[in-house]
């Protein structure tokens, strides 16, 4: 038994969870447990109170909203993987999910848990950033909508007050037939990405890029939205030369070095993955 001692709470409603978060000393929320449990086992975190939100009804759903997808924070990654609605409306999310851990971890892991854990290499985080998602945080004062661009504050630090929990994710949809691509480089299947790229792309009948979203994961302390790359693409005619030139901008990102890769290698991967993702996204555009 490796986890440190803690008091265990299993609220049945979001309101009850918020009350526990605001009143208990040093609490930690337990969602799917695929990150918190290892951190407890390694004693990276020593919470006095663990609040298990698995027994709260109504936080696990996938539904279509107003030109958007609405996903409950406690929706299991497996349910996203097998959702026909997501495969049809937002294939980038499905493609990203297939790179998340393994079947055993996706059966338990939740999208909300991953977003709040906010590992810079996390696939769901990257898809939400590329998709201009909005997340809903619920606290004592009620609900607060947070554009996903404003959600990562620093390395693994979400824009949540200590007494707030993430309850929902809203992802605006692109036109059916848009291009998409999620590519990552990892040492083994299911490992954390050394670098990853998520791309959404749309072109008109003449091949002119109407919309582009490019995001990089695993490269820096927080996932990056590549505004400069997007600005270089939109309004131009899609071509391999343009993609190569735009992707080269990724070499300038402030990358991090660790045991897996140097700064220069991550910058190189960022450029290569971005170029390949743009090419694949373009090939997937249908009128």
């Amino acid at each position: 038994m490796k986890p440190p001692p803690f008091s265990y709470h299993d609220p049945r409603s979001v309101a009850e969870a918020v009350t526990l978060l605001s009143t208990l000393e040093n609490p930690k929320l337990l969602a799917g447990g695929q990150s918190l449990m290892p951190m407890l086992a390694m004693r990276f975190v020593l919470p006095d109170n663990v609040i298990d939100i698995n027994k709260i009804d109504g936080l696990a759903y996938i539904r279509e909203g107003q030109n958007s997808l609405e996903i409950g924070a406690m929706t299991r990654q497996r349910d996203i993987e097998f959702s026909a609605l997501i495969a049809q409306k937002h294939p980038l999310l499905r493609e990203g999910i297939l790179n998340v851990g393994h079947r055993q971890t996706r059966n338990r892991g939740t999208i909300g848990g991953s977003l709040c854990h906010l590992d810079p290499a996390a696939e769901q985080v990257l898809v939400c950033l590329a998709s201009d998602a909005t997340v809903t945080a619920t606290g004592p004062a009620g609900e607060r909508a947070i554009p996903f661009r404003d959600f990562p504050l620093a390395y693994m630090t979400p824009n949540l007050a200590p007494d707030e929990l993430l309850t929902a994710i809203r992802i605006p949809l692109w036109r059916p037939g848009h291009g998409y691509s999620f590519l990552e480089f990892a040492r083994r299947h299911g490992d954390f990405a050394v670098a990853s790229a998520a791309v959404l792309l749309d072109v008109d009948a003449g091949g002119i890029i109407k919309r582009a979203a490019v995001a990089l994961g695993g490269v820096a302390a927080v996932p990056l939205r590549m505004d400069a790359v997007e600005a270089m693409l939109v309004g131009q005619k899609a071509s391999e030369e343009l993609f190569r030139a735009a992707a080269e901008l990724c070499r300038a990102v402030e990358a991090v070095a660790d045991v897996h890769a140097t700064v220069e290698y991550r910058q190189h991967l960022a450029a290569v993955l971005t170029r390949r993702a743009l090419t694949q996204a373009l090939a997937r555009v249908t009128p």
Binding site: P3, S7, Y8, D10, N107, H189, G190
Partner: protein
């Protein structure tokens, strides 16, 4: 020490125990129920040896608290054979295929491999070799090598199909 009473169904048998709230499901199965078929390797969700089926879906029992299993059904490697208490009774076709294809040497990873592959074959009764490799990507084997495990899985899929059985 904080404890709670939990009621679970393990391999079809109802079980009630008082457990410490920080006890992992893996330790609960091994120490409280004596079901040592579930192996513990890394204890932080990397090796896959402790994989069990929680309500029919694989989960790493080292990443689940015993208290979270309250009210749920768990299947361990001990429950895979149709008649696990009778040693002369036939094993599950997947277990037979593992034996015939030399898919285990030391056997440490085997319980996690078997539970993982049972779920794979339920989801996808005729997987390709690549699909098997992806399915077992979360299970580390340090001695047998993955090739015989992939071969055994493909063989088991054939046997199940021939027998008209569900895994």
């Amino acid at each position: 020490m904080e404890t709670r009473k939990i009621a679970v169904t393990v391999n079809g048998q109802p079980q009630t125990r008082e457990v410490e709230t920080r006890l992992t499901l893996a330790d609960f199965l091994r120490h409280d129920l004596g079901l040592t078929g579930t192996h513990i390797g890394c204890e932080h969700g990397v090796c896959g040896a402790c994989t069990i089926l929680l309500d029919g879906r694989t989960a790493r029992s080292c990443l689940t608290l015993a208290v979270q299993a309250d009210g749920h059904a768990i299947d361990t490697v001990e429950g895979i054979a149709p008649n696990p208490t009778d040693k002369s009774a036939p094993m599950h076709p997947l277990q037979e295929a593992f034996r015939d294809n030399h898919a285990l040497q030391c056997g440490f990873c085997t319980p996690g491999m078997l539970t993982t592959i049972i779920e794979l074959l339920r989801d996808n009764p005729e997987p390709t070799g690549d699909e098997v490799r992806i399915a077992i990507s979360g299970n580390l084997c340090r001695c047998t090598g993955y090739q015989p495990i992939v071969a055994a899985t493909l063989d088991a899929a054939k046997r199940l199909k021939a027998e008209g059985r569900k895994p």
